[in-house]
Amino acid sequence: MELLREVADWFADPARWTGTDGIPNRLVEHVTLSGLVVVAALAIALPIGLYIGHTGRAAIVAIGAANLGRAVPSYALLLVFFPFFGLGFGTAFPALLLLAIPPILTNTYVGLRDVDRDTVEAARGMGMTEWQLLRGVELPIALPVIVAGIRTSAVQVVATATLAALVAGGGLGRYIVDGFALQDDGRLIGGAVLVALLALATERVLTLVERRLVSPGLRGGSRPGGQAYEMAGQAPAPVTTGV
């Protein structure tokens, strides 16, 4: 109960709600960093994934990215990049970006590959150009799977942006890292609550988006988003991941 009071006091402190170390600023830092990373990852992974998925060429890139993304821990990346990029954003951004690309790339590829071959043949038979086929057939069918990849990526990034505090970046991770350093349990738990809520909220919101994007013609069956990242890993694996 002592602990609960410490946490409550930490949240109740007026200083918590203003200035650089206030919750609003830390939240904005966290969301901005995560958002920029995901947008950059989309800009890189989506075109490559669409190309590989549509043409079937260089599939090894998509599968390799998935496996590599899992084997190289983000914590290691942050520390490895630090000597090159220094304190803060410069290190956190590329480390998180490398983490964010694989799920989007892999899911985009798998989503397009899983479009029924007969459907693709039918579209070609109707005289669709490759571009029309991609825009009008493959993309709408694959969209929930692609969004599932974006969700995986975003949740990972939001979770790992917490570690950016290690390399003196901002964000909500500051409270946890400082809480450990100062042995201040109120700050530690307060920060943990905020980080956990942000990760869960990100996952929730993107799950809802994903459900809404299922093409009307495909509704009623099992949710297509569920299996994608898994096949690339040759196994059913979680679709969303905190790190």
Partner: protein, 213 residues
């Protein structure tokens, strides 16, 4: 600037950290597997429990590791127990899903055949369902193990960490040779362990090899 000579001079320390890393991973995946198998058996029988159990595991999985450790430290301190509770909780969703998917993949015909041969439910589970589920279970173990090897690094912040500890100390003392050595060793460890699990999976499913040949 980077003192590469640190690496050959500290191979002993690196090896000790590698072993630590492997032990931390082994405990987490072992305990996680035992819990997941028990949960999967329950879920396999009472299907309505799957959604709530997987949902809970999903929430645990989504909570960032640093936050989870932060929640635990006031209760269990900077200890091995804190590290393992966190690590185990991240394996549950992966393993549970794969074990259940593996058990589900056994076709009803096979189950009926086993029943027809006079197997009891327990015998059928051990001798038919579990072996046939092995490929998916091994796939889950691979993902869980590689993920855990990465997560063990984060436990450096609560005083454990294996190779993560080497990296964190290197980082704090601006000894980047240690940072790189730790990172490379971790990735190699992940790859070697993953290959070992693939080999184990092959050994455990000789029938699949016979069919493949």
């Amino acid at each position: 600037m980077i003192r590469w000579e640190w690496i050959p001079a500290n191979l002993g320390q690196l090896f000790a950290a590698l072993v630590d890393h492997l032990i931390l991973t082994g405990i987490a995946v072992g305990v996680g597997f035992a819990i997941s198998l028990a949960l999967a058996i329950v879920v396999h029988r009472w299907r309505s429990l799957y959604a709530p159990i997987a949902g809970t595991a999903g929430i645990l999985y989504t909570i960032p590791s640093l936050a989870l450790f932060a929640f635990l430290v006031p209760f269990t301190g900077l200890s091995l127990l804190t590290a393992e509770i966190g690590l185990v909780s991240y394996t549950l969703l992966i393993l549970l899903r794969n074990i259940v998917a593996g058990l589900d993949s056994v076709s009803p015909e096979v189950q009926e055949a086993a029943e027809g041969m006079g197997y009891t439910a327990g015998q059928r589970f051990l001798r038919v369902e579990l072996p046939l589920a092995t490929p998916l279970i091994v796939a889950g173990l691979r993902i869980a193990t590689v993920t855990t090897i990465g997560l063990v690094m984060v436990t450096a912040l609560i005083g454990e960490g294996g190779l993560g500890q080497v990296m964190l100390r290197g980082f704090n003392f601006r000894n980047y040779a240690a940072v790189y050595a730790g990172a490379v060793a971790t990735v190699l460890l992940a790859i070697v362990v993953d290959l070992a699990l693939v080999a184990l999976g092959r050994l455990a499913t000789p029938w699949a090899r016979a069919r493949g040949a």
